[in-house]
């Protein structure tokens, strides 16, 4: 039954796809994609340590160049790709100068493979490792448009430009709410480099990979670039209030906000009679937090009565803790019945680990859907249909007894009729 429906749905989808394909020629789509084109910037460490020859017998730089060439060949058409280097130019010993050394090697835009490859070929391992400033600049490069944004950072050493902690920089970039992800790759990293790079990745919901072989590098970078091409819903930034009266009113959609430790966030949703409110929330831990945590989402009336709540708690390593709730508002026959304002209250019990900055708050993602509520027609159980051997037995017994009774009654009637 389900299969048949799926099949029918599949055929419909196919037809729809074909029709859409005919109705919207490629040219019409091109304009739109420019605005929402996914943007990726590859940030490559060209510091002196990249000279080390420990990746499959070649130098780290050679491995990176080869990987870049392969990735440039395989980059999907719609991806706007840029390349930024850090530590490529300044040879001196002045830390201040060295830490400004980051340069856009190839601007983010439609890719010209030959130009990009030529640019990469000129690179030679040189200077310092200013990861923090490079990330800031890279975020600037990716500004504009509303597509997905991704920075792929390839480095072989930790940042040499303290006190600007690249991990903090990453968190601040993420806090701008522009939906930027930073993926990091460590080339034969030591423990400190690994910690720093994985911290950067965690701060933005990206991934960290440890690279020890050439093909690992090109596979991974290629995969990350391709991943950027997948269409993804970009959340809308919103800012919840500290109580319901001042809360922003949300419609169906995907939202993002920051939630500070120990604070509350309130949002409002208006729900018409006969509609159902669905809200789901994920709070991500983008920094070191204590290992026990939870999240509570409550739907409350404007008068403060709790309608329903969603809660989740957990322990141990996690990227986010999520929960959700649904509230079907009953339909009424009264035409004048107006929409109800439901307040959503969000709190978490994350606590920052010792020595960890608490602002900006933790990033959260909120999905709001107001859909048709249960519409009264029920499934078959409501018709009193049953199943099982006991049901069959009972029906047979009842039928048999009814037959017997009917038979006796009619015999009795015949007997009475004959007597008269």
């Amino acid at each position: 039954m389900i299969t048949r429906q799926r099949l029918a749905a599949g055929v419909c989808a196919l037809l729809a796809a074909l029709t859409a394909g005919i109705a919207f020629p490629a040219g019409a789509v091109a304009d739109e994609t420019d605005q929402s084109a996914p943007k990726v910037e590859l940030v490559l460490d060209v510091s002196g340590s990249m000279r080390t020859r420990d990746i499959d017998g070649g130098s780290r730089m050679a491995a990176a160049k080869q990987a870049f060439n392969e990735v440039l060949d395989a980059t999907p058409e719609e991806v706007r790709l840029g390349i930024r280097t850090l530590g490529a130019n300044y040879r001196g010993n002045d830390r201040k100068e060295g830490c400004k050394d980051t340069e856009q090697l190839y601007p983010v835009g439609p890719l010209n493979r030959t130009d990009a490859k030529t640019a990469v070929a000129t690179l030679a391992p040189t200077g310092w490792t200013p990861i923090g400033p490079a990330l800031l600049k890279a975020a600037g490069d990716l500004d504009g448009g509303n597509g997905t944004r991704r920075i792929v950072l390839i480095s072989d050493g930790e940042d040499t430009c303290q006190p600007l902690d690249p991990c903090e920089v990453a968190r601040e970039i993420a806090a701008k709410g522009i939906g930027l992800t930073i993926d990091t790759l460590g080339l034969v990293p030591d423990a400190k480099t690994r910690d720093q790079l994985s911290c950067i990745a965690d701060a933005t919901g990206g991934t960290y990979t440890d690279v020890r072989h050439k093909e690992e590098l090109s596979d991974r970078v290629g995969d990350l670039v391709e991943r950027a091409a997948d269409p993804v819903v970009t959340p809308v930034a919103t800012e919840g209030a500290d109580r319901c009266e001042k809360a922003p009113e949300l419609k169906s959609g995907l939202y993002t906000d920051r939630l500070e430790f120990g604070r509350q966030r309130w949002y409002k949703v208006s729900v018409d009679p006969g509609k159902e409110l669905r809200a789901a929330v994920s709070v991500a831990d983008d920094r070191a937090v204590n290992p026990d945590y939870g999240v509570l989402l409550r739907a409350v009336t404007v008068h403060g009565r709790e309608i329903v709540r969603g809660e989740a708690a957990g322990t141990g390593r996690t990227d986010a803790v999520s929960t959700g709730l649904r509230y079907p508002k009953q339909d009424t026959d009264d035409d004048t019945a107006s929409a109800e304002t439901v307040c959503l209250q969000l709190t978490t019990s994350f606590s920052a680990a010792a020595g960890v900055k608490t602002s900006p708050g933790l990033p959260l993602e909120l999905t709001v859907d107001v859909v048709d509520g249960p519409s009264g027609h029920h499934d078959v159980a409501a018709f009193g249909l049953g199943r099982g051997w006991w049901l069959l037995g009972l029906l047979v017994l009842a039928g048999f007894l009814a037959g017997l009774l009917w038979g006796w009654l009619s015999r009795w009637r015949v007997a009475v009729w004959r007597t008269n």
Binding site: A8, Y208, T209, V233, A312, D369, G386, R387, L392
Partner: protein
């Protein structure tokens, strides 16, 4: 008379065969040739890779990644999720975990299956499984019973040595389900399945543009309406059997044929 009996016997046999058969008819997961199964996993709920039931999805990643997939599950199905992670050649002891979340991102409990498992030092792979509760058509808003809609899988390592972070791993996941049928029927249906973003999706339908959606399941419906259930078969057969038993009972009271005392002229 004989015809009636034969018919009765035949119906009974049919009923016996059809009842359980209808209950067992699994939804034959459309195993759309593993050739086009996804080879990548998402990194959050928002970017989760969509898979169909019965599809073996693979992904390569790094230890420490959070790998996300999503699949649709319909009323009456009891989904089972399995994951196999191939670990790098050398590694310390690490604990992997497979979590399942519903369309509202509420964590779903596993009835059985090793949801969390620790791979010993140097183990080649680790296998995880989770058998969910049966998806029901409706539940109270205050319960977190599984409802028809999108289900998310999250596969990750939850405990590892710092040196093992970022090592290449590959994972394979698969979601199958057993059809529980009418046994799981409850008195109610949802207006729309629990598919995130379904409100925005139905509003923006028909403009033909390929926009990103949170979850594309049920775009062309495909969800069971809740009108069909094996309860129709059971109850129908029950009614027929009851009627036959009624005739049988009636016949018993009449004896065989016409009463001998009644003169043929009456």
């Amino acid at each position: 008379m004989r015809i009636t009996r034969m018919l009765g016997a035949a119906l009974l046999a049919l009923g016996l065969a059809a009842g359980p058969a209808a209950a067992d008819s699994s939804p034959s997961p459309s195993a759309s040739a593993d050739g086009d199964a996804p080879t990548r996993a998402g990194s959050s709920f928002r970017t989760a890779t969509e898979i169909e039931q019965g599809q073996s999805a693979t992904a390569s990643g790094s230890t420490g990644d959070y790998l996300y997939w999503s699949f649709p599950a319909d009323t009456g199905q009891r989904p089972t999720v399995r994951a196999t992670v191939k670990l790098p050649a050398t590694h310390g002891s690490e604990t992997w975990q497979l979590d399942v979340y519903d369309g509202l991102r509420r964590r779903q409990a596993c009835q059985y299956g090793a949801q969390t498992r620790t791979a010993a030092q140097g183990a080649a792979s680790v296998e995880l499984a989770c058998v969910l509760r049966t998806v029901r058509g409706w539940s109270e808003p205050w319960a977190d019973d599984p409802l028809p809609g999108t289900y998310y899988l999250r596969l990750t390592v939850v405990d590892l040595a710092a040196a093992d972070l970022g090592q290449p791993v590959s994972a394979e996941v698969r979601a199958d389900s057993k059809d529980i049928g009418g046994a799981a029927a409850v008195d109610g249906t949802l207006g729309k399945p629990l598919v995130p973003g379904i409100a925005a999706k139905s509003a923006g339908q028909g403009d033909g543009s390929k926009t990103a959606v949170l979850s594309s399941f049920g775009r062309d419906d495909g969800w069971s309406s809740g009108w069909w259930s094996d309860r129709w078969v059971w109850t129908g057969i029950g009614a027929v059997l009851a009627a036959l038993a009624g005739i049988g009972g009636y016949v018993l009271t009449r004896g065989s044929g016409r009463p001998s005392r009644v003169p043929p002229t009456v």
